[in-house]
Every structure is written in structure tokens, then in C-alpha cells.
């Protein structure tokens, strides 16, 4: 069997999910040995414009150029995998999606002129068909490796469907939400990070996006009870996934 042709691409984002792949120091040479890496612009210069069996795409659609580029990748790829919370849910840059682009340009660049053809930020699946989503800000090394391994076997990787709280409980951490009254988003956030932040005594910020059937209303009322202002709760919940999953709920 010939090696699958793979491309790794970045739209607008911080390049952290591509970096997370380069950060697989122990596995990197095995990964590039198991696939035919046709395009990875961040890491190599001999990139080919070709068809891909699997395309991994990081970042979200922020400009018209991102939109064209994504559609082009889609048209050449068998399986398109959204990697990271920008690609899956819009990410941080979507947190200001409730504001007009002109206002944002005025705030940041001091001009309303839209040189950059900025548009409302969208997750990949809002623009093209996406076969698989690997969330995280950034993606976890273990998920990218098991993701690639599953795809090589013709399988789809398992992404947890339970919240961060479950992993946090396994680690016997103090509950930051109930015991300390921190603004912890663990109950509404998808697990898979081994509850990294609460294990360090830092509240979950929701970087892996909403868990399936997240009970956002309940989280909201608990935080209100704890004395948090509505605007602060909304802002926290909008941080990583405002483009898609939470739009209707907030």
C-alpha cells in the first residue's frame, strides 16, 4: 500500500497547532516516515500542489483569502481534519464576533478601511465540509499522534465526549468551582487534556470548546450564584468557541 499523501496547512491563527505537531520530537521522524508529507509550508520548502488523502488545517477563516485558500484545500483533499479550537470553533479571534469589523478596525488600527478584507470569523465547518475535528488550544500531542495513527489504519480517532470535570475528579483535585468559587469552565468543556489547568490550581478556561450537550445554563446560574457579573461570565464563555457552538446560547 502506498503511503497516504498528507498536507498540513494554516489559516489565521497562532501556528500553535502546527507547532504542536513539530513538537512531537520523539515521534516526528516516525510520523514523516509513515506518510508522504506533500505540503507543510511552516516546516519545509519543497511543497507540492497536489491532491491529498488527508489535509490537517489549523486556524479559522478570518479573511476572504482564508476562505479561498480553505476551499482550494477542500477541493484537493479526501479527508479534511480541523485541528485546534480556531479551526473547530473559531477560536480567540471569534471572541469579538458580536462587533462590526469596522469598529474593530477602528479600535486596533485607527481606521475603518478594511484593507485586509476581514470578515466575521468562522470555523472551518461553516465554510466547507469537515470530516474530523480535533479540538484544543493548542491540540494535545497525544491526540494528534493517535489521530494520525487511527487515520493510517482507516479508522477515526476517539475524541472524549465527557467534560473536563471527569478527568479532574480522577485526579482527585479540589473542585475549584464549588470549593474555591473560581470561574472554572470544566463542567461545560470537552475533556482530553487530563484536566491540566485545574490540576495546577488554575480554573479551566474552556480552551477545548464545549462538550456535547453542555449544560451552559446551569454553569451560568452557578457562576451568578457565586457572585460573578453577567458580562464577565459571558466573556469567559465566549473566549474560544463564540463563532459556532455557543452563539445561540449566549
Amino acid at each position: 500500500m502506498s503511503k497516504p499523501k498528507v498536507g498540513i496547512f494554516g489559516l489565521t491563527g497562532c501556528a500553535g497547532c502546527q507547532l504542536a505537531i513539530i513538537n512531537c520530537e520523539d515521534e516526528l521522524l516516525d510520523i514523516v516516515g509513515a506518510v508522504d508529507l506533500k505540503s507543510f509550508v511552516m516546516a519545509q520548502s519543497n511543497n507540492e500542489e497536489t491532491e491529498f488523502d488527508v489535509a490537517f488545517v489549523e486556524g479559522s477563516v478570518v479573511t476572504r483569502e482564508d476562505e479561498h485558500y480553505l476551499k482550494e484545500i477542500r477541493s484537493k483533499s479526501g479527508i479534511l481534519v480541523a485541528i485546534g479550537s480556531c479551526a473547530c470553533f473559531g477560536g480567540i479571534q471569534a471572541a469579538a464576533n458580536d462587533r462590526e469589523r469596522e469598529d474593530l478596525l477602528q479600535i486596533v488600527y485607527g481606521t475603518k478601511e478594511n484593507f485586509y478584507e476581514a470578515r466575521k470569523v468562522a470555523a472551518l465547518h461553516e465554510v466547507v465540509k469537515v470530516e474530523l475535528q480535533i479540538p484544543g488550544c493548542p491540540i494535545e500531542k497525544s491526540e494528534i499522534i493517535s489521530g494520525i495513527a487511527s487515520l493510517l489504519r482507516g479508522d477515526t480517532p476517539l475524541i472524549p465526549t465527557y467534560p473536563v470535570c471527569l478527568e479532574c475528579k480522577y485526579k482527585e483535585n479540589l473542585c475549584l468551582l464549588k470549593e474555591r468559587g473560581d470561574m472554572c469552565l470544566g463542567p461545560v468543556t470537552r475533556a482530553g487534556c487530563d484536566a491540566r489547568c485545574p490540576s495546577h490550581g488554575v480554573a479551566c478556561r474552556g480552551c477545548r470548546g464545549p462538550v456535547e450537550e453542555a449544560n451552559t445554563a446551569s454553569e451560568y446560574s452557578i457562576l451568578l450564584e457565586k457572585g460573578y457579573a453577567e458580562e464577565d461570565i459571558k466573556r469567559a464563555l465566549r473566549t474560544f468557541a463564540y463563532a459556532t457552538e455557543l452563539k445561540e446560547k449566549l
Binding site: L29, S45, T63, E113, A236
Partner: protein, 431 residues
């Protein structure tokens, strides 16, 4: 005569960048280095957020210097809130920075820049001929990521550093392990300097250059300090950082360009080494001396050598910090308590590509009402254009289009421009 060259994909830089040069009758008629990263409006996303929610957002500006954005924003917020952190917190933040510097410099030196000098498309392609070199780079990078993970809870965008300190102080075991591995790979860092000292650096960009860097408060080389030094001898207070980088918005780029008094300047490893070489750690100082490259240098391609020297410095300093932490007695201390109040806070630190500034204005509930971030690549942009101009002016007659394009790519990569993502294309038009 009109000649057009277009190289798709300026690869191996972390960003959507585009170079456009037009030469008409032997003279440059147009020259631009544009940044194409889509605007992400971070300053606007920060608005209204409470002080304890801001740094987590701002770290996401960049993955490679996530530690830099995180700590610089935390320091600016602490400045606004009047928070004083413990010596242990300062040391741990510095250790986190050394993890970032080693990771970023090793990635840039071996994976992005070295293939240019050795004639390969990527570090991966170098494996069959230079296996041990690539393996060495991977091991140093891994160690650097482990330093960042121990300090911040994750190699990228870790949430453990907070306003006032750390959620959890790393354990003695974790620090001891890092210490031993830093000792083990110290020779690899020394070999990195020898490797980059042995490369042939063309001098087509060499020209008088103004350098800026944060001025360390003590007598030792450092990425932290409370004022800014300029190569012309001036020292500027941190609160006056806008004197260095008055930002200008240009229609062709989504990074705001910095031009104090209209003059381009350079920040980054070469600026720091040029300004403070005499204060380096012993091995780094010796390695720089043995490199045979005279400092200060006006050749921006020497930035690669300066990065290698700083990699070794960061190894030595990280070892010292861990020993210092043990000498002081490592304490599991909670973050300093913070009382929200109104104020303006400014912080500037050295990150791998140069000086990074964060400024916030908070209201009396500790919510952000104004934010400003100035990144190193935005400051270097005008100097990169200056270098392009010098290179094209000096080389366009003898160099063919392929060579000239390669030179321009080499210049861009020497600065290690961090625009996040993949660069698009160099467009070179000759008429």
C-alpha cells in the same frame, strides 16, 4: 527590460509574509515586505475583560513566544494593579523564558534557517545526511518544551502563570530533572554555536543600523529590565516605550510598523548581543569570542549566530536559576493577593525576536478599558525592507533572479519573522 519572478510560498517562516520588489532600469521602483496574517483584533478582544482573564487571551497571539506574551501581559497588569511578586516567582518566570528562548532559537536555527545554508528543503530532509545534527536539535527542543511545561503546565499556552505568581510551583523533583538534562545537553548548545560560527554569512545587507533592547537592571545579560537601551547610547524609561515604537498603519500590511522619527531599527538576538555581549555567561562569552565574528556587527544575517550564542546563554542561566531556587529553599507559595483598582500598566521584555511591549489601562473593577501590544516583528519590518533595498541595490547586476530571490528569503528568515502561519510568496518584478 521587464523580468518577472514569482516564487510561490516563502516557506520556513512562521507567518503569511509577502515580499514584493520591482526593479525598473536597474533602479528599485517598488519594495514592500507585507504581513498577510488576517487581523485578529486582540486589543479589542481584551476590552472589558477582568485582569485575571486577560493574559490567557493575549498569550494566544503567538505559539512560539506564548510565554513572552503571557508573562509580559501579566507584568503589565501587575504594574497597573501595583502588585509586587516574590523573588521566587521572578526566577521561575525567567526559567520559563529560557525554555521559550531555547525552543524558539533551536527551532529557528536548525529547522528554518540551517536548510538554507546546507542546501536542503527542510530539516527532515537533512536526516539521512546529518542525522546526529537533527537528533541533537530535536533533543534540545524537547528539553526546552519540558522546561516550559514544568513552569506553565503545557508546552504551548500553559495557564499556570497567573497575575501574582503561579497556580502551582514546580516540584523539586521536576526542577532537579531539568537541571540534570540541561547539564547533559550543555555540550549540544556549545556545538550549536560552533556550527553557526562556521557558516558563511554574506554581507550584502551590511549597513549602519540602530539597535534597541531592554536594558538589564543588573550587570548580567538578561531578557528583563526596567528601561530600554539604544545603540546610540540613549537609555529610555519603560513608560516612554512609545518613543521607540510609534506605530504607523500601512495599507499593505496587517502588522503596524514601528518607525521612531522615521528611522528603521533592529531588535532581537543581534541587538541584545551587540549591546550587552560583555555581560554574557562564561561559556556563551567564550563561544562568541571563538566564533571569530566581531561584535558589534552591522550584518543582520549575524542574527543567526547571536541566536546560537543566546541558546548557550539560556542553558547556563537556566542551570544557575534552578541552583539558586534550591539555595533559597523552594517554597510552595500561592499567588500574591490582588485587589482590583484603576491604573495604567506597561511592561517590556525581550522575547526571542526582540522587544515585546504590553500596555493596559484598567478601570476600578480591574476591567481592561485600553490595551496596546507592540511585537518585535512589527518593529523589525522597516529594517527588513532597508536590508532588502541594500541587497537589491548591491546585488541586482551580478545575481540572477533565482539567486536574488534566495538572498531576499535568507534576509527575511534571518530575522525569524513571527507572523504566525505560513508565508505566501515572494514577488519580484524587474522592468
Amino acid at each position: 527590460m521587464t523580468r518577472k519572478i514569482r516564487v510561490d510560498h516563502l516557506s520556513r517562516v512562521e507567518g503569511h509574509g509577502r515580499i514584493k520588489v520591482e526593479i525598473e532600469d536597474g533602479k528599485i521602483s517598488e519594495l514592500q515586505f507585507s504581513i498577510f496574517e488576517g487581523p485578529r483584533f486582540f486589543e479589542a478582544v481584551a476590552l472589558g475583560r477582568k485582569y485575571d482573564q486577560v493574559h490567557s487571551v493575549m498569550a494566544r497571539i503567538c505559539a512560539i513566544c506564548s510565554a513572552g506574551h503571557k508573562i509580559t501581559s501579566i507584568m503589565a497588569l501587575e504594574d497597573a494593579l501595583g502588585v509586587e511578586v516574590t523573588e521566587q516567582t521572578k526566577l521561575l518566570r525567567e526559567l520559563y523564558y529560557h525554555g521559550m528562548f531555547i525552543e524558539s532559537h533551536v527551532l529557528h536555527l536548525y529547522f528554518l534557517a540551517l536548510p538554507d545554508y546546507l542546501g536542503y528543503p527542510s530539516a527532515i530532509a537533512m536526516v539521512s545526511d546529518h542525522g546526529p545534527v537533527v537528533e541533537r536539535a530535536l533533543q534540545m527542543k524537547k528539553l526546552a518544551n519540558d522546561i516550559q511545561e514544568v513552569c506553565s503546565g503545557r508546552p504551548i499556552h500553559g495557564e499556570n502563570p497567573v497575575v501574582g505568581g503561579f497556580g502551582q510551583v514546580p516540584s523539586a523533583d521536576q526542577l532537579r530533572t531539568l537541571h540534570d538534562r540541561l547539564q547533559e545537553y550543555l555540550p549540544a548548545a556549545e556545538e550549536t554555536v560552533s556550527l553557526f560560527a562556521g557558516l558563511d554569512y554574506p554581507s550584502f545587507t551590511k549597513a549602519p543600523t540602530v539597535f534597541y533592547a531592554v536594558k538589564p537592571d543588573g550587570d548580567l545579560f538578561s531578557y528583563f529590565g526596567s528601561s530600554i537601551a539604544c545603540s546610540d547610547g540613549r537609555v529610555i524609561a519603560m513608560k516612554d516605550y512609545r518613543q521607540v515604537c510609534e506605530e504607523k498603519v500601512l495599507p499593505y500590511t496587517s502588522a503596524k510598523q514601528s518607525l521612531p522619527g522615521g528611522q528603521p531599527f533592529m531588535v532581537g538576538a543581534l541587538a541584545r548581543v551587540n549591546l550587552f555581549a560583555s555581560t554574557l555567561t562564561p561559556r556563551a562569552a567564550r563561544a562568541l569570542e571563538q566564533s571569530g565574528i566581531s561584535i558589534p556587527s552591522d550584518n543582520s544575517l549575524h542574527n543567526n549566530l547571536a541566536q546560537a550564542v543566546e541558546t548557550l546563554y539560556s542553558f547556563e542561566r537556566a542551570i544557575d536559576i534552578i541552583e539558586d531556587l534550591f539555595r533559597r529553599g523552594l517554597k510552595q507559595e500561592p499567588p500574591v493577593e490582588v485587589r482590583p483598582k484603576a491604573g495604567v500598566g506597561i511592561a517590556g521584555t525581550e522575547v526571542p525576536r526582540g522587544t515585546l511591549y504590553h500596555e493596559y489601562e484598567l478601570d476600578d473593577e480591574g476591567r481592561v478599558v485600553k490595551a496596546n501590544v507592540v511585537t518585535p516583528t512589527a518593529q523589525n519590518q522597516a529594517n527588513i525592507e532597508k536590508d532588502f533595498r541594500n541587497c537589491v541595490t548591491r546585488m541586482h547586476e551580478e545575481a540572477d533572479d533565482v539567486q536574488l530571490t534566495k538572498y531576499l528569503e535568507m534576509i527575511a528568515r534571518a530575522y525569524d519573522p513571527c507572523i504566525s502561519c505560513a508565508a505566501h510568496y515572494v514577488e519580484l518584478v524587474r522592468r
